[in-house]
Amino acid sequence: MFDFSIITHWIHQALTSLMPEGLAILIECVVIGVCIILMYALLAIVLIYMERKICAFFQCRLGPNRVGKWGTIQVICDVLKMLTKEIIDLKHSDRFLYNLAPFMVIIASFLTFACLPMSKGLEVLDFNVGVFFLLAASSIGVIGILLAGWGSNNKFSLIGAMRSGAQIISYELSIGLSILTMVVLMGTMQISEIVAQQADGWFIFKGHIPAVIAFIIYLIAGNAETNRGPFDLPEAESELTAGYHTEYSGMHFGFFYLAEYLNMFIVAGIAATIFLGGWMPFHIVGLDGFNAVMDYIPGFIWFFGKAFFVVFLLMWIKWTFPRLRIDQILNLEWKYLVPISMVNLILMVLIVVLKLHF
């Protein structure tokens, strides 16, 4: 497996030989920031196109197919249009909070996106409490949503934001518990270590029963976190017009739109990293020839393949199931998912202590 840390070290050496260390780090930060933003935008375009085509195929129709071959350039047109729309200034809104809200959502999104390991050595944020930082950073998004609902001076937005706030804060508990279960198995919170430990089998196979249960709970809770699928009541179009982002237009709305898709990708990316092995190829202990063949496929193809597979699962669920009501959503979380997660945690601890895992 090609190790990207060779390239990053080389770049760092080259820069520090030319200028003082502080300036070199500054330049590196700026370059990495630009790279992240570019990747973010590109991924958003790919995801939006993917959603439109997949949902069209589920619904027995074709999706966009007039703009570019198979409609591939459609999303670029959407982005162009969004950039050129007027940004409306509301009269009685809380101007500062109203304008701050989309940026809070995007910042939370960027921070968590930066933690994902794309390939060996190709991580941006990698320190010893990586998973913990991930969970903490993703919680900042709630503030953006609540500010959007409050700052819009609109009763519908407020209802939508309140619902969303309650939902996200509740489901963070489930996510935390299911990741905690896996941390017990993994023994470390550093993301590159997590992926390296899956060289002899992905954690979902190593941890068998509790890992599978944790995976399913994580998918459900992750869905709810991003306000998608059966849990999209806060922005339910047929109920509250457009929920907490009713009053936003132009690029501010574009930020919310993008953040929704990228959050879904981030949830899928974390699932791929913790449960399905990240950029680690599919190894079977004992079959060395097979493992060598698998190693030829580069790491980022594995990572993106797994992440897009999980994204496909999430989209499949969204376009099939109707919406849950807010009290049913909270019921599901507090009365079912949290107790099951806690029992699962105990089960995993027992398995680790008694060394019953693979």
């Binding site: 619904q59 209802i159 047929s238 109707p322 849950l324």
Partner: protein, 530 residues
Amino acid sequence: MNNIRFIAPTDLHDEMLRLRQEEQMDFLECLTGMDWGEPDEKDAPDTPRGLGVIYHLESTVTGKRTVVRTASLNREHPELPTVSDIWKAADFNEREVYDYFGIIFIGHPDMRRLYLRNDWVGYPMRKDDDPEEENPLRMDNEETIDTTTELELNPDGTLKNKELKLFGEEEYVVNIGPQHPATHGVMRFRVSLEGEIIQKIDANCGYIHRGIEKMCESLTYPQTLALTDRLDYLGAHQNRHALCMCVEKAMGIEVSDRVKYIRTIMDELQRIDSHLLFYACLAMDLGALTAFFYGFRDREKILDIFEETCGGRLIMNYNTIGGVQADIHPNFVKRVKEFIPYLRGIIHEYHEVFTGNIIAQERLKGVGVLSREDAIAFGATGGTGRASGWACDVRKRIPYGVYDKVDFKEIVYNEGDSWARYMVRMDEIMESMRIIEQLIDNIPEGTYQEKMKPIIRVPEGCYYSAVEGSRGEFGVFIESHGDKTPYRVHFRSTGLPLVSTVDTISRGAKIADLIAIGGTLDYVVPDIDR
């Protein structure tokens, strides 16, 4: 139907109470406001004069039907006693009569206009009123008035106005509509909330009020047919069938058997079309968008059949007075016979994707229960009434067309919640297919249009006929004075009773439930507003 019994306004309330209790007339089928004009010296003793109301009543227990009328000769301040405490259906209907004629009902708890703006001048359906002159297009926003008046009778016989509050100042009132993806048209609900729980709903209609009844008074009978398709556009065939039946009954025309078979088959196809759209829109409102596309995909096949014979997909213009516009296309029978097995084979998909889904069941079961007494009191016919245990199908009560010759079940559920309303319509699709199967091979030969005079004049009198529309009992009431234009046409709306039940059944539910309730009640707003 010429000699409708007249009851003086002073005796009205007691007589109505007697009819309700002794003769068990619990279903107020139709309430029509009338303007019979000023009294003239040349009148016969029983000529109706003044501003009044005609009531069509039916008993669900004995099946007996009766018609009564009342009138007030005072044109400045016409007042009649209310019957809204006897039948809840009278609530919205009397507001409509107040809106059109200016008749104030004493004792009615909410005497506001129903369809027109709060600042509208005049009463459009009066014969001496000129609505356009007094009411140019006003582009300023309508004032939302939170109070309403009730007229009370003092012990000494004089009247006093009592102001009642609709919404208090501390109440959190949210406005749903008129532009809203889920209100199925332009309907405005003002909802008073406490957190997520609904305390009270006030429905504002009239955003698509096109004045069809007033327009019909200046159109000849064949011209009035053109507007009925656009009332409940998902029951276009059925609406026109009702109007044609009423005129044919009045003139004593008997249509050929072929016409009856064709009309029945078209009605049933229209019913399947409407129920498929009901399914699609309910699924879309609840968030299961894939089911929406399934419903529309199969609906397109029915629209193809319609288009081949009638020329239109949504607005068909097919029934005429005395028959149908053109004979059925040679391919019609073949295509219908291909369609029925196709739909039978694919309807399991609908049940797999939506009916069997645990989330859909949780959203619909137990939500918005309408009891049988309330359904009858409000006059909520159609799928809604049948889901509450009231067997109100017009095809069984007063058979028309060839419904007395076919064998079909009337689907009745007893729970009265949204799930029952949903299942009633899904089962009715299967029953409609059975009806079509029994009829499609046996269409008799004959003419498709009776010979009619070039100018159609309906003999003097009052006539009422009803059909089972996709949403309930759609009735047409015509009063004719022998001219070639009707004196008064009133359409008994299928949707108005349904909307008047929304306040009663959604108290205590959540906002998300309001969407499920509105979706399963299945009203079409142009039918309410006419």
